[in-house]
């Protein structure tokens, strides 16, 4: 192959990489043997720091060490006796020549060290210079720098390049950015309003302390853990790994130090006196696939899972593609094939073999410790009061239709009752004294879904109940009901608001509350002496035209019934899951190198391979009499001297905040990866991370309180030439929301989000026929109640047939570890947000919310509020006009097509004062906002 001329410039750089470390395997290794000596004794005056450098000699780079110093050089490769370096460290006779200088307090070199230097020079003085394997430097920010240290590094580079950074994002954008980045949820209206007063710092603290922080960042971690709820491959049966998900959420919320976080996940089962939670943590590596297909070779798929555990560990903690060494010594990074199998040997001894293996039973809430507080349920007080039936006189509706008396002394509305009909009844009683009235609403077969109301779903909205005696209103002190639909309390029947009232059929979590008998009690301010006169009861239904009470009975009590007392909530049995955990075999399996990675070809000639770590990455695994286990491996990964784990970890945190890591190839810190854009910053953060006890929350706080993070994300046309990729971070980047967060944001905007944390997966509605393409059909029991509106991360994940939204928006398939999601932008995404009934429901939810919260507002106010709820900002004039015009055009169109409008308007909207057409047009507006790029983007 003919090499282009340019190639030659790179040959010196490429050759050592191509030849690989094996060339030097029996030789002195610079990073292991020489760098510590030079670093300790020489770099102070002959290192990277120009200001401190003496005699214009630097020894941290080979060029510097070999440079001509005037007829001689510090290092002459192959010729130790010609090398000034050796002469000077040995010049004990002449203190003015001796290095390090006797007064430097550096101490002299030992004989052993000198001998190492000699051998190293003799061998040609090779340097190893790959940055990622070098120790994390304790980089300092000048004391004069009083701002956030992150900005020091970023602004320094910008300044050097002559770039003025962008200004801060406006506060609306910033709050939305912070909320989405830290919790994955949109800021509420209240949070938006209080942000200017609360200020940035306390807002950051609030978000970091939010239990949703663990969800947001737990999801990132679960990507790396390749978490899923099914076994994978073709059969893809269910598994119960959610206790592990709970563990991750809790660990992040508790800011479990990352070293401990690592140890518990890789070897929680091996910890002495392990807790149950630590045992559950070891499920990390049980997220590998299991092939349940008949005729599978157990050993083949066991080996597959061990390989996956090795590769995942390499990618997640070391940022290295160790997988290459499965078949051959790594071509670029210093990982030999033998070393690969040394890592393999750590993971080769667990009991599971393409099988469930060891499990731990966990109850819901057990790991998170977030047992929901028992919500007090109102007792029904009337059993303790003495209720007496009445006799009805002249029961009529305002439309003139009768109320039919039933055998049980209840009244049933006539089928021909008018819209918004109201009732008037005279109730006579033998009681002399009446203290309270009870209204019982009752199901009846003649009513839709058995009632008790006349609405299509059996609901009603009773907007007013008035009691008069002898033409004078009776004052009601209070009212209570055994059940109220959220937003429709019984108290609504007492006020002057014609739109508020009592309803019963929506929003309850218990099925038993639907289409069932209910009752409300109205307590008189003062007991009434009846003197044989009837009570005149009127009932109004002014909110929704077809939402009448269908069948009811009135009863009276001479005594005041007690106020409702809370009774303990229904005791719901906590659900349980058996989570798969790691379990070591009593006797380890033998590990052999596989020829070309093929498990059927163990290379027994080269002997059994014992577990050990990678020689190029510090520190060496401690000498131990016993065979090292996963626990030792985990401790090695988080040893303060291991340079990769902290770098890789803080780099990934950075990546989530800017869309790109300081090291762009976050999954490859090897020689083929890209070098850090801000090496000083990377090491500053890494060092601080470890020094501050591996607290991830502190790193999060440090980053998001920097100016760099808070800058505007608007593009900078002026930087097209200088820094088109924004590597220097003159501005923030716009980042599309992750798949789950696309859903979460829409749930937030509509106000329908069920914020419950943790527990087993949920099954929101999905289109039929999703499983037409999988071998085994899945039992997707669509969730009802709050589980229908849980966050996206709880959607039950079948590897062979993921929830379509997740797949469309680039959630990984969790077959293997995913350290960085791709971010596509496709027509299928457009179709999903535009047409998925689940999204339409949320657009309708947002519309209902607008109508509910702004009952008498005009379209201008509603568009503004929709923007605040969905985009956390006020619309621009242009946007406002666009949407107003759009609204009016659709409304005018719908005005001539009530049938179509009725399909978009929900029952709650139809019950409201707006016309079908304007309700439907407002749904169109909400739908349009949810479909903007802005909505699914964190700016």
């Amino acid at each position: 192959m003919a090499l282009p001329v340019e190639m030659f410039r790179f040959l010196p750089f490429l050759l050592p990489l191509l030849l690989g470390p094996s060339t030097f395997s029996q030789e002195i290794q610079f990073n292991r043997d020489i760098r510590p000596i030079l670093s300790d004794k020489c770099f102070l005056c002959h290192g990277p720091d120009e200001k401190k450098r003496k005699a214009d000699l630097r020894l941290d780079q080979r060029d510097g060490a070999l440079a001509d110093l005037g007829g001689y050089a510090a290092v002459v490769p192959g010729m130790p006796d010609e090398s000034e370096l050796l002469a000077r460290v040995l010049a004990h006779e002449d203190p003015s020549e001796l290095m390090p200088p006797p007064d430097s307090n550096r101490g002299q070199l030992t004989t052993g060290e000198v001998s190492l230097l000699r051998r190293w020079i003799k061998q040609g003085a090779p340097y190893q210079s790959h940055w990622a394997f070098e120790p994390v430097a304790d980089v300092r920010v000048p004391e004069s720098w009083s701002n956030n240290p992150v900005d020091y590094f970023v602004e320094k580079r910008l300044k050097e390049s002559g770039i003025t950074p962008s200004g801060p994002a406006d506060s609306e954008t910033l709050l939305r950015r912070l909320s989405l980045d830290l919790t994955g949820l949109l800021p509420s209206l209240e949070e938006q309003q209080s942000f200017p007063d609360a200020g940035l710092e306390s807002t950051v603290d609030r978000l970091l302390a939010s239990p949703h922080f663990g969800e947001r960042w737990g999801r990132h971690w679960l990507d790396q853990a390749r978490y899923a709820d099914s076994h994978g491959y073709s059969i893809d049966g269910d598994r119960q790994m959610w206790p592990f998900r709970d563990w991750v959420i809790k660990a992040l919320n508790d800011d479990l130090p990352f070293d401990q976080f690592t140890i518990e996940q890789l070897a929680g089962d091996l910890l002495p006196n392990r807790t149950k939670a630590q045992h559950v943590a070891s499920a990390f590596h049980r997220n590998t696939l299991i092939n349940q297909e008949g005729g599978s070779d157990r050993e083949q798929f066991r080996v597959e899972s061990v390989i996956d555990r090795v590769n995942t560990t390499g990618a997640v903690w070391l940022g290295l593609t160790v997988g290459c060494a499965q078949c051959h010594t790594h071509k670029f990074d210093p990982i030999t094939q033998r070393e690969y199998y040394q890592l393999f040997a750590f993971f080769n001894n667990t009991e599971d073999a393409n099988s469930t293996g060891a499990t731990v039973e966990v109850e819901e809430y057990e790991i998170l410790g977030n047992t929901p507080e028992a919500t007090p349920v109102k007792t029904f007080p009337s059993t303790r009061a003495k209720w007496n039936p009445v006799r009805y006189r002249n029961p009529v509706t305002s439309s003139g239709k009768p109320l039919h008396l039933q055998k049980d002394n209840s009244l049933l509305v006539d089928k021909a009752a008018g819209r918004n009909d109201s009732y008037s009844v005279q109730a006579t009683t033998y009681l002399d004294r009446v203290a309270a009235l009870r209204l019982r609403v009752l199901p009846d077969k003649s009513l839709p879904r058995n009632g008790p109301g006349t609405a299509a779903n059996g609901n009603f909205v009773l907007t007013k109940l008035r009691i008069q005696s002898r033409g004078k209103p009776i004052a009601i002190s209070h009212a209570f009901a055994d059940h109220e639909q959220p937003g429709y309390p019984i108290a609504g029947t007492l006020d002057q608001d014609a739109k508020s009232g009592w309803a019963i059929n929506v929003g309850g979590t218990r099925k038993a509350d639907m289409n069932a008998p209910h009752e409300a009690v109205f307590v008189f301010r003062e007991p009434l002496e009846t003197k044989g006169e009837p009570l005149e009861v009127t009932m109004e239904h002014t909110l929704n035209e077809s939402y009448l009470v269908g069948r009811f009975a009135i009863e009276l009590s001479p005594t005041v019934p007690p106020a409702p007392a809370p009774k303990p909530a229904e005791i719901v049995k906590p659900r349980k899951g058996r989570v798969m955990v790691m379990k070591e075999l009593p006797k380890p399996r033998s590990t052999f190198l596989f020829t070309r990675g093929d498990f059927t070809r163990p290379h027994k000639e080269s002997g059994e391979i014992a577990p050990d770590t990678l020689s190029q990455i510090r520190p060496a695994l401690g000498e131990s009499r016993e065979r090292p286990t996963r626990l030792e491996l985990a401790r090695w990964l988080v040893h303060p001297e291991n340079p990769l784990t902290p770098r890789v970890t803080v780099n990934r945190i950075w990546m989530r905040y800017f869309g790109r890591g300081l090291v762009e190839t976050e999954e490859d810190f090897g020689t083929q990866g890209s070098p850090p854009s801000h090496p000083g910053l990377l090491d500053y953060l890494s060092h601080r991370f470890v020094a501050e006890g591996w607290s991830t929350k502190k790193i999060h706080r440090l980053i998001v309180t920097s100016k760099t993070y808070q800058r505007s994300s608007h593009a900078r046309p002026d930087l097209v030439e200088v820094d088109p990729g924004n590597y220097l971070l003159a501005h923030q980047n716009r980042i599309r929301l992750d798949a789950e967060i696309v859903r979460d944001a829409a749930l937030c905007a509509s106000g329908l989000l069920a914020p419950k944390i943790g527990g087993p997966g949920v099954y929101p509605p999905q289109p039929p026929d999703i499983y037409a393409f999988t071998q085994s059909r899945k039992n997707w029991k669509t969730s009802t109640g709050e589980d229908r509106y849980r966050r996206g991360m709880y959607i039950f994940f079948y590897r062979s047939a993921p929830y379509p939204l997740l797949q469309t928006f680039d959630a990984p398939d969790f077959q293997t570890t995913c350290t960085r999601r791709v971010n596509s932008n496709t027509p299928l995404q457009a179709l999903t947000v535009a047409n998925d009934p689940a999204f339409l429901e949320l657009a309708q939810g947002l519309t209902e919310r607008l109508l509910r919260e702004l009952p008498s507002a005009d379209i201008t106010a509603r568009i503004k509020r929709a923007y605040q709820l969905a985009l956390s900002r006020i619309p621009s004039e242009v946007e406002h006009k666009l949407l107003t015009d759009y609204f009016e055009a659709q409304a005018a169109d719908f005005a001539n097509d009530a049938v179509a409008a009725g399909k978009l308007a929900t029952p709650a909207m139809k019950a409201g004062p707006e016309s079908y057409a304007r309700s439907a047009a407002l749904v169109c507006v909400a739908r349009a906002i949810l479909n903007t790029d802005n909505f699914i983007t964190r700016e």
Partner: protein, 483 residues
Amino acid sequence: MNDHDHVKNWLAEPTRRHFFRDCGVGLGTIALNSLLGQLQARHLPVIDPAQPMDARIPPLQAKAKNVIFLHMAGAPSQLELFEDKPKLREFHGKTPPKSLMEGKRFAFLKGNETLLGNSRPFLRHGQCGMSLSDQIPHHRKIVDEVVWLRGMTTDVFNHGPAKLFMNTGFQAPGRPSMGSWITYGLGSENNSLPGFVVLQSGPRGPRAGNSLWASGFLPTSFQGVPFRGKGDPILHLRSPEGMTRKRERRFYDAVGALNRARLEATGDPEILTRLNAYEMAYRMQSSAPELMDLSKESSRTLDLYGVTPGQPSYASNCLLARRLVERGVRFVQLYHSNWDSHGGPGETLSKDFEKVCKSADQASAALVLDLKERGMLEDTLVIWGGEFGRTPMGENRKTTGRDHHIDAFTMWMAGAGLKKGYIHGETDELGFGVVNGKVHVHDLHATLLHLLGFDHERLTYRFQGRDFRLTDVHGRVVNEILA
């Protein structure tokens, strides 16, 4: 030049970089980037991020533009369809020679099985003299149109992993499928339909599910889009009830205008891509139903395939495949089950096998004939076959069937750049192994890419520090079958 062109122009450069970054094509260092860029630029697709599916010209001369892959899920028995083995009949019931069994692994065989002679009568057909059993009479019409690959081999013997291997070149899930690789390389010629479409028929879906057409680490723009046989072909294609086409146009206009307003405010090129994506979504709403509507096909065509309009079937999928390719869709893949003839209920080598043959025979042949008649076979490649073959030994279940066999099976290919009526490869007398003309799955992939204008070693994608390709580190173009 309108204002959006203006925005577009100054965005063009960073946009491209942005995409390369997200695609992982970005190389380690700027230096290496320029170096390797010079070496590879011609062979790596240059993708407009706003239109990742725009048609691209391949780096080498291409014979084929489109591919239709007819995947016979469950693995058809080559010994009941294509491989007439007199010796196997002769030794029927005998223990197979030890030498042939050594070191072999099977999914279900226990080791005491005996040889099972061909259960079907065979005859030679056409000028090439290809032997076909009585089960696929319609294939007689295409014997001299196709290349017969009798020496196929693969690496894995379970359905899921083997299907993955056939589709992605790797036995575990997570790699891009060939359709993804091809659309990554070539984009698609139709901008109102997906570039990579999956159709499915038969009693059950293929094992391994979505990962068979997943884009793996490639951007999801390149993943296969399953069209459903019933209802709307694409998920969420249908507008909400009450939204007429006119109202939808208003909706798309409003969203577009809001997005343009944001584009002007932020200057983010991703918004351009989203604008285009929404427009394509709108177009798909009419183009996809139009595609599925077979009413304009002549009765002659319907009869040729054996299609009953309104009834989803393998036959209607074959016809849809032609319609898709006709509209410029790059890669169409059909999965048809169930060919898993182990013996026993639902999987007998008698009735059940006859049934699946009957369902697949006519339409498979019809597709080749129809494409030829329309001149489309000139630049369309049709591939037919399962994920592996079946054993010469019988497998004893309730009835006798055949187990999975990876060392020798038959596939056929037809169309652009290939010989016609050519038999490639030969197996031993008992059908255990390939004697000559072996074509490994990786070789099939290499050949496929070759015909589409790619060097399979150079159509790569960098992921987690490594340049991946469809053929991993293997593959050889099967020059013998090229015209």
